[in-house]
Structure formats: C-alpha cells, structure tokens
Symmetry: C2
Subunit: 353 residues, 2 copies
C-alpha cells in the first residue's frame, strides 16, 4: 500500500516515469512540482533509471518497480504483452485500488490499449477515445476522438457524442453541452457515410445536437463538444498547432524587423504571452482516455515538466470528481422518460439493466 | 465570337456573374478591376440582373446571356440538368474556343460537376480534385483534394499526387516538388486503409515522395504538395482559417486593452497587415479544378471583388501557360525510362498510347 504523500487526502496518482521523449528527467520534475502543490504521487518505472535522477533532484517520491519501458514506436501488440512495463504496472495500481489515476507521456497506442485491457469499457461504449480541449473564441471546446480510432463506425461517433457530452457537463459544469459533428459542410447531407449516419441517429436522441460544423466553426466556439473520427481529429488538432506556431514565428520575425517594431513588440509581450497560453497544449497537460472504467491521462510525447504537472493536477481533479463513475451513472441513468431511454439504449447497445 | 477587351491578347476569361453570396455586384467589380489590369473578360448571366449593375458601375464589359443561376445549396444532380445555367454556358464558351477559362464563386459541387461534364478528364485521372495553396513557413504549399471528393480510393490519392506534382512544377517552377500524404502519424503504418495503400504505391513511383506528414508539418513547409481526401483537406483548410481568424481576433482584443497596447498595436499595423496578407484566401483568389481538360477556377462563396480579381488573374496566367495541356503532356510523357513509365501507367490506369 502506497502512503499518500500530498495534501489530496487518500487519492494517489501513478505517474509513468519511463514514457515520453524527455523521460525520466522532465517527468520527475513535473511530478515533484505537482506533489509540491499537494497531490500524492507515486512514480512507476525502473529504479536504476529513476532513483539517481530523483536523488539529483533532492526528492524522495516513492517508486513502484517496473521492469521495462515501452518504446515510443513499439508496436502496440508487443507492448500489450509486456506484463511488467511501467505503464502496465501503473494501470495495475489503479485496478488494485492503490492508485486512482495514471499519467503517461508514453506511446499513445499502448496507453489506449493498456487502459482498455486493464480496466475494460464503460457500459454501452465499444471503443476508447482520446478527448482534448481546443481553445475557441468562447472558451475551451472538447474534441473527440483526436487520435485513438483512425476509422470509426457511425455507432462509435454516437457513443463519442454521448460520452463527450457527459464529460463536458461533469468536468466543465456546462449544462446541456452543445454538440456537433465535424464535417466538410454544415448541411446534413455533407460528410462521409459514417458522419451522415451518425447525424441521423443523433437527431433522434435527446442531446443538444446542432448538426454538422466545419473546421473554422470549431474555433468560433459554436459548440462545446465536437465529435469526429481520430484521423480527422488529429488533422484538426495538429493543423491548428501548426498554424499557431507559424503565426507566432511570423510575429517574431516581424517584431524584430526594425527598432520601432522591436519597441512596440516588447510592449506587447504580456499580450502575446496571454494569447500563447490560451493555445499552448502544455497548459492543458494531457488528454483523458474516455470510455474506460478508470482515469488515464495521456500527455504529448514531447511534454516538459509543466505539461506533466498540469496533467497530474487534471488527473487528481478527475479522481476527486470520480468522473468515470459519474459518466457510467449518466449512461445508465433512468431519466423516467422511457422513450428517451429506449433510444439511448438502442444507440449505445446498452443492456436494459 | 467574343472580341478580346483586354491587353492579354486573344485569351478571354468567362466569369460566372451569377454565382456566389455577393453576386452580381462584387463579381462585376472584381471583373472590371481585372479587365482594367489588362485581362479580357466576358460576363455570363441573366442580362436583366447584370446589365443594370454594370451600368451603375459605368462598365461596358460584354455579357453572354444565360437563363438561370445555380443556387448555392442546389443539389448537384439538378444543377447539372440545367442546360442554360450561367456556369454551363460559361463552360460551353471554353468548349467552343470562345473563352479560355472559367471563374466562378458559385456552388462548388456544381462547378466540379460541370467542369467534368463539359470538358472530360485528363488521361489517367478518374476524378477531378480541388487544389489550393496554404501559407507555410517556406512559402505556399499546394494541398489537394480540398473538398471535391469526400471519400477516395487509394488510386485517386495516387492520381492527386501525380497531378499535384506536375501542377506545382508548372505553376510555381518548383523542380521535382516534394510530395507527402496527409496522415495521423509520420510512420508508413499510420493512416486510413486508403492512405496506407497510396503510400505503398507512391513509394514505388519516381516521384519525390517523402511519406506521411501530420497537420502541423504542413505549415512547417516540409513538402510542396500535400495529398489527402477532400474531407480531411477541407478540415485542414477550414481549421487553419478558423485558427487564423481567432488569433487575429485575440490580437485585436489584446491590443485595445490599455493605452500602451493601443500605441504599440498601432505601430505594428503594417506588420499585421503583411501577416494577414500571407494567410488571407482573398489573396489567392480561387482554387483550380484539377484533372479536367480545361481551366476552371472556383472562388470562395463569400468572395468579394478582390478575390474575384485575383482569381481572374490566376485563370489568365494558367491559360497563358496552357496548364491543362502541359499537365496532359507530362502525364503522357515518355521519359525514356521504360520501367518508370510502366509503373506510372499502372498507377494511373493510362493506356499505352
């Protein structure tokens, strides 16, 4: 049993110390900072790799031993067979009740696979999805799937919609979140076969479904939850990241062109910092794996300490709020409206329990 | 026969005066400006709608009569059956040799359908595609398809690649353009079934094929030509448009927060204008329909005069360069390398002529 080392009560966050491009140093720094902010943390990984770095950093965070790290490009089938990988051991700590969430910057496919393997799916959900927040005019917009499922069936899109809607309601306190399907046109007739069928089903459910939206409307904040397959979601997200980087790069170039620009640019530094913060993924920390019975946060492989700290704080908030349990309850909730319940059951393949 | 009214010699650009959200006023303004810059223009549409506006604008540009406009949301099947729509009449002028390109801000699906119906496909190309330039760090990047084909077969992606490569070589003068497939990961194993198969085929062709790229890499300028299905291309393009709009909106807000910011912001106006120009679709004018035997430029439905002028200038340049003919020649070109030719023929289903 791991004794809690933070102010967060009995909740413990298991951190995969071996995953990510900057593991273990940046992961440990991020974990130490989260712990300093009151969250109980346990590091999972190979002690001979972690312990020396931890000592350098003057920290005594507990280590749970694992035998191997999963490589960033390791095929998921292989990764799933390693019984003592840091990720697998971390997930096991949650299964046994010794920890309450996992944070990892490792191989995304393995993260998804291990969450599924160790914890199983929520009732009515067939596939796990990655959800993530994008900054829009009116505030953060939740997009899912952003990379777990390259191709999807219409029923998966419907499940993402229900799950995303419940997640945003619980995590952001948004009553009746506005929901939309990402498509190449706003008309119901636009989109892939899967989008069109999902649109038809969603129109029949008692969700706040707006219909299809295009990429630009996502950033206008037209909806609170944007549903798409993982291929399109990845393109939307990475494309946006690319545009933001290029615009800031152009600004840097423009603002050092002459003395006048340099002076003006210097005066605007706080403004640029505020904007940059709104669009910086490190501020969001990581994205939850949705659809499984426990909490797993996946950080960008390139994460530095700040992203790890923010991801651990997010995991702790989600654990405190018991989010998977509440999503489960919402999915199974009897609203008293029998026909609504029947439609949801049909859409989600839920059993009538 | 239409007598040329510009300095561009015998080339005439047929402009659909009825298509677009701001037709006919903005279309006419744009056409008049392009004509003032030396391009011969003929307007196509209903004289009773166009003539009064043209008179207000003190212009005597020739009008070719058409009976109907195609509505922006008109089903393409219906639109294709109208024999005397402005778009159909404009395409007919090119078929008869009276004009050399068409520019329209109308219904994109109808534009694509009519170009296909009137002009047929280039040898070896099964489907027309919309290509468009996105601004990247190193200059414009050509992306296709950006909306014509919601779903594609692997062979279509390969054809887009060959066509895009030739187009960029001819229109930009880029020798041996760097080519990439848009995917949700850089590894060959990433992507939809279609992307994976297209990747495999492209690896075997003598093109400068880099492999898969992610959305952010598009804007880093890692490749000159980005190939994708029309659904993903639309999401990349519209998403980028949305991010640009939101960042400039945030800048506007930040730069009017206090006096210091206002003064600094005013000093930076020229810098912002330069950046805005690089990312503004109105500067690009419109996107060509690739794969057909003649030149059709599709403008954004929301186009104002400036976009129309730029689209007409683009159409005129393409006509001057005889681009479709040269793409055709490049597709049929005998490079003397028999095995390369065989691979291309196989990839494009070209007949051995």
């Amino acid at each position: 049993v791991i004794s809690p080392n933070g102010a967060s009560g009995t909740r413990v966050i298991a951190v995969d110390a071996m995953g990510g491009d900057h593991a273990p140093l940046e992961i440990l720094k991020g974990a130490i900072e989260a712990n300093a902010r009151g969250v109980s943390v346990v590091l999972v990984g190979q002690p001979r790799v972690i312990a020396p770095v931890l000592e350098q950093l003057n920290s005594r965070l507990p280590i749970v031993e694992a035998e191997a790290a999963i490589a960033m490009d390791e095929p998921v089938g292989l990764a799933l067979r390693r019984e003592r990988s840091s990720l697998r051991v971390a997930a096991g700590l949650v299964s046994s009740g010794d920890a309450h969430a996992v944070v990892s910057a490792g191989n995304s496919a393995a993260i998804m696979g291990i969450a599924y393997q160790a914890w199983k799916m929520l009732p009515g959900i067939d596939r796990p999805a990655f959800g993530g927040f994008l900054p829009a005019r009116t505030g953060p917009v939740f997009v899912l799937d952003i990379g777990a499922n390259t191709t999807v069936k219409p029923s998966h899109l419907v499940q993402f919609a229900v799950m995303g809607s419940v997640y945003v309601q619980l995590s952001q306190g948004t009553e009746n979140p506005r929901l939309a399907l990402l498509s190449n046109g706003t008309e119901d007739s636009k989109g892939t076969k899967e989008v069109k069928q999902a649109n038809e089903t969603l129109r029949k459910l008692d969700l706040n479904f707006l219909g299809n939206v295009e990429g630009n409307q996502v950033f206008e904040g037209i909806a609170d939850v944007i549903v798409c397959d993982g291929f399109s979601g990845n393109i939307l997200l990475k494309g946006a990241e690319g545009v933001v980087n290029e615009i800031f790069d152009m600004l840097r170039t423009e603002l050092t062109k002459d003395l006048m620009s340099k002076v003006a640019g210097a005066a605007l530094t706080p403004a640029f910092t505020r904007i940059k913060r709104r669009v910086d993924y490190e501020e969001y920390g990581g994205v939850p794996v949705l659809g499984v019975n426990e909490i797993m946060i996946n950080c960008h492989g390139k994460s530095h300490a700040k992203a790890i700290t923010n991801a651990i704080l997010l995991a702790d908030r989600m654990a405190k709020e018991r989010l998977p349990q509440r999503i489960r309850e919402a999915l199974l909730e009897d609203t008293g409206d029998a026909s609504r319940r029947r439609r949801l059951v049909r859409a989600l393949h839920l059993s009538h329990e």
